[in-house]
Symmetry: C2
Subunit: 164 residues, 2 copies
């Protein structure tokens, strides 16, 4: 069975006992989470989310990229969220490479320059959270009324640690 076939099989079971078909579009808990795509993070289990509770934006690193800001503007302006929680995590892949490393690998494999792509790696975990919070706060479209806080998720303990 391919992984896609496995997903369809698992989804049959999920749908068979699904009873949340009447949830509204706006998140019930008025919050958006911005975190990493890392496979070891399950935001719902780790934070106690039920379907319908929160927007979850994920990318490599949990970075406040232009696209994350696009998503958060939609979340806040059209769907009423007022809190953003930025969560980076220990042992993140983004700590393990530089733009130069990855660009060189891509050039070698695809014979095409990736020099115009910033892959947004970082060297300091707490600093990356602070930087991303600052980026969000500096967006002209994210007003001061939006509460923004930052955390590091420890993939070894399952614990969420505040970044001040």
């Amino acid at each position: 069975m391919t992984v896609v076939q496995e997903f369809l099989k698992a989804n049959e079971n999920y749908a068979a006992s699904f009873h949340k078909g009447d949830l509204p579009m706006p998140p019930a808990r008025k919050v958006a989470i911005l975190t990493c795509m890392d496979a070891r993070i399950d935001p719902a289990r780790a934070l106690g989310l039920e379907e319908g509770d929160a927007h979850v934006v994920r990318n490599a690193g949990g970075r406040a990229s232009d696209d994350a800001i696009r998503s958060l503007i939609i979340s806040e302006q059209l769907l009423g969220t007022g809190t953003v929680v930025v969560i980076h995590h220990t042992d993140c892949g983004m700590l393990t490479f530089s733009n130069e490393d990855l660009r060189q690998k891509l050039q070698g494999e695809f014979h095409t320059s990736a020099d115009d792509i910033d892959f947004l790696p970082f060297k300091d975990l707490e600093q990356s959270v602070r930087e991303d919070i600052a980026t969000l706060k500096n967006s002209p479209f994210i007003p001061d009324t939006i509460s923004i806080s930052g955390f590091i998720y420890d993939v070894h303990s399952g614990k969420l640690l505040p970044v001040s």
Copy 2:
């Protein structure tokens, strides 16, 4: 209690019984999911994912944005995934507005032009999945060896429906 305090409380319970501290960084099932930030979607429950199984990239619409491609390149090139599953969903917020609508709202509220932001809304759900698959396949950094398929998640039934 604020929603952040609720998350910390829920996380205490999660961490107290956490026993998955030794998972490796690369996703065990070698798959990356690209889906919408919508609060009603819980990819782990809906697809049968455990911590460590899959990269999960999420943004407004589950679009194949430049940032999603950045994340997928890292997923594939540095962390060994070979399958991408694109999942859009019924009743998506992206079906309910146009760029012009949102830009006008932002201009009115913040007195700053958002004309250079494409919010990536769409009018046809199946078509948006097909477009995003095509965008990924056309990336010079996503080779033909990566398997890409598309689905629509029905938020009313919990069911995953293939898009061909």
